[in-house]
Amino acid sequence: MTTVDHTRHDAHHAPTGHASPDDIHVHKSTSFYVKVAAALALVTAVEVGLYYLDIGKLFLPALLILMVVKFVTVVSLFMHLRFDNRLFSWLFYSGLFLAVIVYLIALLTFRVFDPTT
């Protein structure tokens, strides 16, 4: 169940008329959040299970994919970035992508991912 609260920024009353319909409070039911948390716990259990199982070359990509799934789920649903104004997404993800690119280049320079070094 989702209810939307438009009380915070009403475009009709904003002096500049820039109020965005995206900047709103999103209320989801408790059961929705519990289901998301249960899914996250399940993914964590799968991650730990993979640590003890031998799945060969699939191990690394599987763990990285599960990590990204958990990360995006928390950011999108618990931090409400999916329902919020896109400017917030730009601010956060630009910092994140900048960090990933800069440090990937740094690690590649030091040949961290080269098994022969």
Partner: protein, 223 residues
């Protein structure tokens, strides 16, 4: 749907003199929570928090990269394979993940203006956060007893710096949560209460997502 309120507030001129309504007034639009509308239509506090979290990605990116670079540098001293206690770390990861659930329930309760539920969920979140920090202190202590201190090797230095910085962030979050519980109990929250809870919630969730990355890259993926 609520109406925005229009207030007329005398403003000081360049000399700091407040003129009366006869000579001019500053008209300030406020929403139903009492804070002024912004040119973007978005809350400046929330904008600032997201900008801060974006910059925090760079901080933790640097710490994680440094650990990745030095995780194999522990010649003659215990390394990750000898030290990690995956069951303990898995449980503490689960605890921190569940604290994100209780935090989002606190935000939801605050938006519905239910102070009692907000206080309950914030307190549970702080308790879960304290459990996580306790597990981290236990882990650090056990590593120390096994002869691995901060300056033992490049691996240990980068590991303690990374997880220590994260632990400090969790501790700051707990202090923020408990402070919020205190000021909500006294009904002394300045401005929009739901927004204050939401901002601290964003910080708390960020601490959780950083641990999601650390748990996988540091603990689960072998060096």
């Amino acid at each position: 749907m609520s109406e925005a309120t229009l207030t007329e507030t005398p403003t000081p001129d360049d000399d700091g003199v407040v003129e009366t309504a006869d000579h001019g007034t500053h008209i300030e639009y406020t929403d139903d929570h009492g804070h002024p509308e912004t040119t973007t239509g978005l809350s400046n506090n929330k904008l600032g928090m997201w900008l801060f979290l974006g910059s925090e990605c760079l901080l933790f990116g640097g710490l994680i990269s440094t650990y990745m670079l030095y995780r194999g540098r522990h010649t003659g001293t215990p390394g990750p394979a000898q030290l990690w206690d995956i069951p303990l770390t898995s449980v503490s990861s689960f605890v921190l993940l569940m604290s994100s659930l209780t935090m989002v329930l606190a935000v939801s309760a605050a938006q519905q203006r239910d102070d009692r539920q907000t206080i309950v969920w914030l307190s549970v979140t702080a308790l879960l956060g304290s459990t996580f920090v306790g597990a981290q202190v236990y882990e650090f202590t056990s590593f120390y007893h096994e002869g691995v201190g901060f300056t033992t090797s490049l691996f240990s230095s980068s590991f303690f710096t990374l997880t220590g910085f994260h632990g400090i962030h969790v501790t700051v979050g707990i202090i923020l949560l408990m402070s919020l519980v205190g000021i909500i109990s006294r009904s002394e929250v300045p401005g929009d209460k739901a927004e204050v809870v939401e901002l601290i919630g964003l910080y708390w969730h960020f601490v959780d997502i950083v641990w999601i990355v650390i748990f996988t890259l540091v603990y689960l993926i072998p060096a």
